[in-house]
């Protein structure tokens, strides 16, 4: 097996490990999502890139190369939708959170809807 692909597999598994540790240890929904989505997406993209390097320009390698942007875009969009949905659902931030900028945006948008009615 290729040395570069082995290194990419190990790096990907390490990023997955850090992401899942963050999913277990961090206090808040938003912190958990921020840690887990970024790290696990990068780790899985690294594993797929290692598969592409191992197989080269064959059918399996090209499918792995196509799967990388699909995974990247869908994962980030899903994480953004989850954060917005959980904020509008009413999940509180952590006690020691410093700043909450989205609060102003939500207030402005709800006031605008009231004006429309």
């Amino acid at each position: 097996m290729n040395t570069i692909s082995i290194i990419l597999f190990i790096v990907g598994a390490a990023f997955d490990l850090f992401g899942c540790i963050g999913l277990l240890r961090l206090p808040d929904v938003y912190n958990k999502l921020q840690s887990a989505t970024k790290s696990v997406t990068l780790g899985t993209c690294s594993i797929l890139l290692g598969l592409f390097i191992h197989y080269g320009f064959t059918a399996v390698g090209l499918k792995a190369l196509i799967a990388i942007p699909i995974l990247f875009f869908t994962s980030t969009v899903a994480a953004h939708a989850l954060v917005r949905g959980s904020y509008l659902f009413g999940v509180k931030l952590w006690d020691k959170s410093v700043i909450d900028d989205y609060k102003k945006v939500v207030q402005i948008s709800t006031e605008g809807k009231e004006v429309e009615k």
Partner: protein, 85 residues
């Protein structure tokens, strides 16, 4: 080598399962399910090398899209709106 990596990723899936069980809110469980879907894609990509069965990469791509649709549906459910709004 590949065996160890596959076992590590399966153990990480078990950690996600722990978060699904003990998660205090509903959103925690949804986040854990989303992360579990991405981990399964990595396991499928390693199983292609391990077993030599090349259809598993198609399973991985289909799993990405199904996980995306499921997560978007649950997020729309959280905001309290219908799917076509």
């Amino acid at each position: 080598m590949l065996d160890i990596l596959i076992y590590i990723l399966m153990g990480l899936g078990f950690l996600c399962f722990i978060r699904v069980v003990i998660g205090p809110t509903m959103v925690d469980r949804m986040v854990a399910i989303d992360i579990f879907g991405i981990l399964v894609v990595g396991i499928c990509a390693l199983l292609v090398l391990k077993s030599g069965r090349t259809f598993l990469i198609d399973v991985a791509i289909a799993w990405i899209m199904l996980s995306f649709i499921g997560t978007i549906t649950l997020a729309k459910y959280l905001t309290g709106k219908k799917l076509d709004e």
